[in-house]
């Protein structure tokens, strides 16, 4: 689904959006709200901060729970979604707060978890 999947996509939280304007990213969050048109939705990250995700085509399915979005950060600090995947939680719930802690670590030690 386009070139964004062939390059590094840093894993970020809402607080990192500003530093990644125009860049491909990977965002994991919990579905909070879906716009009635299905053209955008809101995800919360492990710190509870919200990010708006836009789609080029309206959603054609129900989404809920934890989503991993791959896309590009827009000038408005939203994410233009190129693809998404729902994390399975049939056996265990996903600990989003722990994932956020892991993000802090990989941002602190990029030499041990390089993107690109």
């Amino acid at each position: 689904m386009g070139d964004v999947h062939e390059v590094a996509r840093p894993r970020i939280a809402t607080s990192h959006l500003a530093q990644h304007i125009g860049k491909p990213v990977c965002f994991v969050g919990r579905v909070e709200k879906i716009h009635p048109t299905g053209k955008f939705f809101v995800l919360s990250d492990g710190e509870g901060k919200h990010t708006t995700v836009e789609l080029s085509e309206p959603l054609d399915e129900e989404i809920s729970g934890i989503l991993e979005v791959v896309g590009r950060v827009t000038n408005q600090a939203t994410i233009m979604c190129m693809s998404y995947v729902q994390f399975r939680e049939d056996k265990s719930p996903f600990d989003l707060e722990l994932y956020n802690e892991a993000l802090k670590i990989i941002h602190e030690f990029p030499e041990y978890f390089p993107f690109g």
Partner: protein, 232 residues
């Protein structure tokens, strides 16, 4: 002083792509590595008569080619193609052909619990930090990178529930026996039971299952015989 990693190193695809190659060996932070694990989402799966080719994406670079050889004697069952969109854990060997890196997998398992992915991220940072320090101090490389950096607590009798270097005492004992077995078809479960008389068969089987899923051992002639993935 050249250091060689004796175990399976969790890595990102970007680290594998950046690994330096000298003849047939690969190095990260100047430590030789061979067996690695990656975790990512299957983007593409293609089944051929003798192998399945996957493209596994962990977001750190473009998806990596992962080849899994199919056991052609096996009647169906064993090698089922993992569908695209599934998160998997891959254990395998790094290879390079015509300057393109790929993995030859000896184990590909769908993730059932996505929290394992978070743990994997942390294990990568931990393992590579240790690799870097190991190279700098030229000291012994620890047995396994799956622990949270706990120091070697020496021998530990009985119990077996406290993990040392990522493996419990029971798992370590089973692994050591399998590693030291010189027979080509590896060590059988019956042999393990004979040698580990203090362990019940079900404990041994649990240990074998864990070691196998972590990539430390693999089954050979049948599900009762195992060899260590550590080629010495």
């Amino acid at each position: 002083q050249r250091a060689r990693s004796q175990n399976i190193v969790p890595c990102t695809v970007s680290q594998l792509l950046a690994a330096e190659q000298v003849d047939e060996t690969f190095r990260i932070h100047d430590v030789e590595i061979s067996q690695v694990t990656i975790m990512g989402i299957v983007r593409h799966a293609e089944k051929a008569p003798t192998n399945i080719l996957y493209k596994v994406d962990d977001m750190t670079a473009a998806p990596m080619d992962v080849r899994q050889w199919v056991d052609t004697d096996e009647a169906g069952g064993e090698n089922v193609v993992v569908p695209p969109g599934t998160y998997v854990k891959v254990a395998g060997h790094l290879r390079s052909f015509q300057n393109k890196k790929s993995l030859v997998a000896f184990k590909i398992m769908p993730l059932e619990n996505m929290n394992e992915f978070t743990t994997h991220i942390l294990e990568i940072v931990n393992a590579h930090m240790i690799l870097r320090k190991t190279h700098m101090s030229a000291s012994r490389v620890p047995q396994s990178f799956s622990s949270a950096g706990m120091s070697d607590m020496g021998s530990y009798g009985g119990g077996g529930s406290l993990p040392v270097n990522g493996l419990t005492a029971h798992q370590s004992q089973v692994l050591n026996l399998i590693k030291n077995c010189p027979v080509p078809e590896g060590m059988s479960l019956q042999e393990l039971k004979l040698q580990l008389h203090h362990m019940s068969m079900s404990t041994i089987k649990q240990a074998v299952e864990f070691l196998s899923s972590e990539g430390h051992i693999y089954s050979t002639v049948d599900d009762d015989h195992y060899k260590s993935t550590d080629a010495d």
